[in-house]
């Protein structure tokens, strides 16, 4: 992977994550869950918890692995090569947030999260001040999931743990092309008042924003692994598939486009890694935003090209290459895709 400061520890994470994803069903599972609800396996989720992944960005004193955002990205880049469908990104970030800023009341929730008993997803969009709170396009909000919802600014900043589905919190979920979901959640005032306040105040807000940036980076890393694997699949196909008695990969026009796609992948990866190195600096938000903008655009460019490289078989659902485009569409647009991130970047 040619990232210069890749330590042995990171390599270990990468290898074991890839192995796990392959072993737990790989692309076949990514395909199978498309029409399932929820679109992931409870059993796999428990195994993931057992591996300690949910605490990868949680300090050791809070029973996490204490490995930081670089490990988060390494993990995600690996699992995305086989399109792991489980909602790792919002869960990892929720854990990091709760460990960082969680009130005493949140300790149980963090433990439940890390041990895989509860799925906790934080909702990056900040709810506006007036009730009922409306949150749109919340990813990975499966039934039974606990959603962390934030409201207010500064000293008024307030995060509650809410389980949508009851009278006080309606949820309407819609399926995405990869089988994941986007939900609209409407929180009534009485539900908000009833809900556990898991964090509050200025410092919690900073931790929240940091965790949101962690999600941006996590999704970016996921997109990097995804597009790299898609391109590799296309390259393998182009070596094997012959037309005019020639492997199509020998046609220079395709070669140059494959090279362009390759540059897109490696430049996006380098930017994600660099953004990890900026995670504890004032550049954090700008870096996360840049990484997400670039990875989102590149992932869509590369996966579309990969389908074209495959020709007709790439357009058939039975071939796996289409799974990569569909997943890229879902992950690229979360928390805002290329355009939204660029406009945000300019304002930071």
């Amino acid at each position: 992977m040619n990232i210069s400061d890749m330590t042995d520890e990171m390599r270990l994470i990468a290898d074991s994550a890839f192995e796990f994803t392959t072993g737990s069903g790989g692309l076949a599972r990514a395909r199978a869950v498309r029409d399932k609800w929820p679109h992931f396996d409870k059993e796999t989720w428990e195994q993931i918890a057992d591996l300690g992944w949910l605490g990868v960005a949680v300090p050791e004193k809070s029973q996490g692995l204490g490995l930081g955002v670089r490990a988060v990205c390494t993990l995600l880049e690996s699992v995305s090569r086989k399109l792991l469908p489980e909602p790792l990104v919002p869960a990892l970030a929720s854990a990091a947030f709760l460990a960082d800023a969680g009130a005493a009341e949140a300790r149980g929730l963090l433990a439940d999260l890390m041990e895989g008993r509860k799925l906790v997803v934080m909702c990056a969009a900040r709810a506006s001040g007036s009730f009922p709170l409306r949150l749109a396009n919340v990813p990975d909000c499966h039934s039974g999931a606990t959603v962390l919802v934030a409201q207010g600014e500064g000293n008024q900043f307030d995060v509650r743990a809410i389980v949508p589905g009851g009278d006080g919190c309606a949820i309407r979920s819609a399926a995405c092309v990869d089988g994941s979901t986007l939900s609209e959640i409407v929180v009534q005032q009485q539900e908000w008042s009833r809900a556990v306040r898991v964090a509050a105040g200025m410092q919690a807000q900073q931790a929240w924003e940091k965790a949101c940036d962690m999600m941006l980076l996590g999704d970016s890393a996921y997109l990097v692994g995804l597009m790299d694997a898609a391109l590799q699949m296309a390259i393998d196909y182009m070596k094997m598939r012959k037309q005019f008695n020639t492997p199509i990969g020998a046609f220079q026009a395709l070669q140059h486009r494959a090279a362009t796609a390759h540059i897109d992948v490696v430049a996006s990866r380098a930017l994600v890694v660099e953004a990890c190195r900026a995670f504890d600096t004032p550049s954090r938000a700008r870096a996360a935003c840049a990484a997400k903008a670039r990875a989102s655009a590149a992932a869509l460019r590369v996966t579309k090209e990969c389908i074209q490289f495959h020709g007709a078989i790439g357009f058939a659902d039975e071939h796996d290459i289409g799974l990569f485009l569909r997943r890229a569409m879902a992950v690229a647009s979360r928390q805002g895709g290329e355009m939204a991130q660029k406009l945000r970047y300019g304002a930071l």
């Binding site: 749109a136 995405c176 395709l254 928390q335």
Partner: protein, 388 residues
């Protein structure tokens, strides 16, 4: 269309718009998917009864002999009204081929059924090993008495599972070049020995299928042109086929979808200069495509266009450009599988975007088209032969 319409054309446009408004069944309007023939054939027959099913066919065979401008008017009004996409293999491919290369008997037997919507056709060209390199096809037909006995395997057959007939290229002998020894034949898909397997596309619909032939017998009278001369039949109408495959119909449909999405206040697109530029881009590219289409079509009418190869690339890449913009505008909602709804009806988010991946692949990949332009139109040397 930008140009001045004649009074007659303007009248035709009003007539079409009014008629479509009154006649497209509500459940088929602004669909966010291409309906299967079963769902669409009633509408097909209605259009046929109105006389508009075959704008480009000669009147003598039931067509309209419409001018290129009238054809664009039909496309524009169909798109605006949200008319559904219809099966086109009969109208755009085998019909014109039979008009040009068929025997009187063949024309009489097959053309009326196409016009009336009584027979659905599919194309049997591609094979698993023969895509861009079509001449390497391996489906064989043995002449046996008055029959051909066909064995082999076709793929990417659009709506093959719904079709009644297939026009196919099969190999009847080995020639000096690979294009020789290929025969063009019409196959009744009810003939024993045929198995069909639908193929689901990445957009989730069963638009294609594979077709397997196991000792399928076809009477020799179903051969179009001479035995072994099928390549010439299949390519006899290349110019006209480029017009069909390079028409702005799909881009117009995509543009209407784009505008419907952009007009939805949830996406805050119309007031943002960033999107204003994108929307203008989509419109301008569509106008350039319409202009190109009219130009080539009118040249074709006057005795053959000298350069029409570019239309297929322009048409298909314009559609993809428009749909990329649609995805951008949809923002965080862009991956939603099912359409959204608003007062105007259904809003497609992903169906056409995914479905349109095929456009740059089918009908000769855009890569093959670019090579044709480079060598045939621009006169650049054929790769590999320039080696000293």
């Amino acid at each position: 269309m930008l140009r001045q319409e004649s009074e007659a054309d303007a009248r035709f446009r009003r007539e079409v718009a009014g008629w479509l408004q009154a006649n497209i069944p509500d459940h088929l309007r602004h669909l966010t998917f291409r309906p299967s023939p079963m769902e669409a054939m009633d509408w097909y027959r209605k259009l046929s009864a109105q006389g508009w099913i075959a704008p480009h066919w000669p009147r003598v065979y039931g067509g309209m002999e419409a001018t290129p401008v009238q054809q664009v008017i039909l496309m524009e009004e169909m798109a605006r009204a949200g008319a559904p996409d219809l099966p086109t293999q009969g109208l755009n491919h085998i019909g014109p081929i039979l008009i040009k290369c068929g025997t009187p008997q063949q024309r009489e037997r097959y053309l009326p059924a196409i016009i009336k919507g009584d027979a659905i056709w599919c194309q049997g060209y591609s094979e698993p090993g023969a895509g861009s390199d079509l001449a390497s096809l391996r489906t064989r037909a043995q002449i046996s008495g008055n029959e051909l006995v066909i064995n082999g395997h076709k793929i990417w057959t659009t709506w093959g599972q719904h079709a009644d007939w297939m026009f196919a290229l099969v190999r009847t002998s080995e020639g000096e070049t690979r294009q020789q020894g290929i025969t063009f034949v019409l196959i009744d898909l009810k003939t024993p020995g045929i198995t069909r397997r639908p193929i689901t596309t990445i957009a989730g619909d069963d638009e294609f299928c594979e077709v397997f032939f196991d000792d399928v017998t076809v009477p020799l009278e179903n051969v179009v042109g001479e035995i072994g001369q099928g390549w010439a039949v299949a390519t006899a109408l290349l110019g006209e086929e480029r017009l069909r495959i390079g028409s702005p119909a799909i881009a117009l449909r995509a543009l209407v979808r784009l505008h419907r999405l952009a007009a939805d206040s949830r996406f805050r697109a119309v007031d943002n200069p960033y999107f204003q530029e994108k929307l203008a881009h989509a419109e301008i590219e569509t106008e350039a495509l319409i202009a190109s289409y009219l130009n080539v079509a009118e040249a074709e009418q006057q005795g053959g266009a000298t350069d029409s190869s570019y239309l297929k690339i322009l048409a298909t890449e314009t559609v993809q450009t428009i749909l990329d913009i649609q995805q951008q505008i949809a923002g965080e909602a862009s991956p939603l599988r099912d359409p959204l709804h608003n007062d105007a009806g259904r809003l497609d988010i992903t169906e056409m975007f995914l479905q349109s991946r095929r456009l740059t692949i089918y009908g000769g990949t855009n890569e093959v088209q670019r090579t044709i332009i480079a060598t045939k139109v621009l006169g650049l040397p054929v790769a590999g032969r320039g080696k000293a």
